[in-house]
Symmetry: C2
Subunit: 343 residues, 2 copies
DNA sequence: ATGGTGCCTGAAACCGTTTTCTGCCGCGGG
DNA sequence: CCCGCGGCAGAAAACGGTTTCAGGCACCAT
């Protein structure tokens, strides 16, 4: 742990120069002799000095931040997530910084940078490397959201594997299906990885051979259409598509519809999340309900607590319960919801 | 404009007390006599003093902020919006604070509070009152995103009215439809308000009488299902549903499907946005393409420029072009996209 | 009268930077 | 030999707050 934060004065002392010189070197402003620069750079390097954002912002009279205000976004997953997190933060009078690493190169560096502007942060599983996550944990309280953390980094998640095993078992046993496909990219996020694992586990339990590979698609509705395209046109079309989330499933439904396949008669489709649309499409989706908003809110609370009590040991990871929601897309006659998997 | 920012020292001078006393009063900490408190409170009130967040955070060695990191969210609208804004901010090495006012009471106060933690901000149209918006504009550069600002507050938007008029005209003239319904809540956002206005205008142009009221629903897919429920079960079902956005339209499609209505034969449905799913459903949606991401990016750039040059006059509002996208859900035989409305 | 006890108050230190201002030093030119 | 000048470095003053610490003062008990 960074016991005593290293400040500009500390570096100045170590390098035997004034704080003004350290500032000049670290900003590349003004004239500094080669010798001084070298000494300062050395000290900075050795002690891992990074200028404090608050001090800098105060002196510059500039926050280095933009605000974005919107009335509410209640989409299926990320929107719920953001809202859950945000509402908890607002309740604690904290503001929320977001960083969307999507497709950017040096996202690890960006996350590290962000850590210096906040009191603590939640990182979604699969977003950055475990090494960075560990570095992060030394800088500020961190919790992994929907995923597992390395070492003692706490996380908030649901038991994706168990829930998917249960759902898959339902298809294999109760509906006697034998040829299931899985749509989603396990490498993309721990969530999907666990769901794929649960899918495989259900097969193995029953001595059945699962497909060797999932259909690797992203997590949006268009990707579900794509998955259907890949699976349904060949000769070896599956009996069922177990989708990594509801959006993929909704897309798959569209794909089936376009081919005049009746769900569930010709093809079974299942989802994960229990998004609002899941109950409304025709046929309604069999899926797993997941408390996305609570997940994020719990993460925010864990961070807030850790900020409050900086010397407390890292909190325990939390696993929230899911609920298996049986509707008609799996072939069941009517809607039922059956109990959770774990607490 | 707040020429000289009012600081704790300023208040102290005015009230004839020390800065320590001002701090104690403004935080409610420590013991302060009634007389002193009154004097200080008076000065604070009169000069509208609010403690600077940076100074406070620096002293407290706490940012008062949480971070949220995720890999990317590419939902239909808000997600695009956030990503567009965020990527531009990151490019300028600024962080993004979000505030989601959804269903909260004192959101105006919260926005004002946020303004004190950022260099500038974008507020979505219809989120807060015009009075607050004007107050905000004195505190920091503001731009209204998807909406119009009061006074000289600049905005970034598309010409929703013209685009919707064009689409409506297409249904009325080219397809000869006479009984159109509109799904969306004009009171909810300037966007929808303008689209409703454009819908009405097209009718009036042709001397037709539009429906007296829209079907007031929110902007998600489930709301589209709801709109269909409201419209299609009665005896006076419309020929077409002009939806305020694609999500509503997608939901309406589901609603129609559940009633065994064929689109476009039995019912025409149109959307707005050109979300990814619009082209993939069956039938593909006739809609208006809107550069959501660019909209947000442009807003971010405007703010950034204003922050850079604080004394420049408020920038001009920007109207980005839309594109009318004709697909099959309106009854046209094949897909076409036709030019933009304005620049 | 004297000392102790609380309650208030303000001076000053501190948070961690940047930036201005002053001054030292060596060098070249008059 | 002296002066001016340019390059560099450091002291100190911002930036806008909070917090510690010491002292003044009124009041009460001895």
């Amino acid at each position: 742990m960074g016991k005593t934060r290293v400040t500009v004065r500390e570096i100045a002392r170590l390098a035997g120069v004034s704080i003004a010189t350290v500032s000049r070197v670290s900003n590349g402003t003004g004239q500094v002799s080669e010798e001084m620069r070298r000494r300062v750079l050395e000290a900075i390097e050795e002690h891992g000095y990074r200028p404090n954002h608050l001090g800098r912002a105060l002196a510059a009279r500039r926050h280095g931040a933009l605000g974005l205000v919107f009335p509410g976004l209640s989409g299926p997953y990320f929107s719920e997530l953001i809202q859950g997190f945000e509402s908890e933060a607002v309740a604690a009078r904290a503001s929320v910084h977001i960083l969307c690493t999507h497709l950017r190169e040096d996202s690890d560096a960006e996350v590290l940078e962000m850590a210096r502007r906040v009191d603590g942060l939640a990182v979604m599983g699969g977003t950055i490397s475990d090494t960075t996550l560990l570095r992060l944990a030394e800088l500020a309280p961190v919790v992994v959201l929907a995923g597992r953390g390395p070492g003692t980094v706490p996380s908030v998640s649901v038991d994706n594997a168990a829930a998917t095993t249960r759902l898959t078992r339902h298809l294999l046993i109760d509906h006697g299906l034998r040829d299931l496909a899985f749509a989603g990219t396990p490498e993309g996020s721990p969530d999907v990885s666990d769901r794929w694992a649960g899918f495989l586990a259900a097969h193995r339990e029953l001595g059945l051979v699962p497909p060797t590979d999932p259909v690797r698609v992203a997590m949006q509705q268009p990707d579900g259409v794509l998955a259907a395209d890949r699976l349904l046109d060949g000769a070896a079309a599956p009996d069922a598509i177990v989708c990594a989330n509801d959006e993929i499933a909704l897309g798959a439904l569209v794909g089936a519809f376009r081919r005049d396949l009746r769900v569930p008669r010709d093809l079974v489709v299942t989802g994960f999340d229990d998004a609002p649309m899941a109950a409304l499409v025709s046929p309604p989706l069999t899926t797993v309900r997941q408390p996305v908003r609570d997940l994020a809110a719990e993460a925010a609370r864990m961070i807030l607590r850790a900020v409050e009590a900086p010397d407390a040991p890292a909190p325990d990871s939390v696993v929230l319960p899911t609920e298996f929601v049986v509707r008609r897309s799996c072939g069941c006659p009517a809607d039922t919801t059956t109990g959770g998997t774990d607490a």
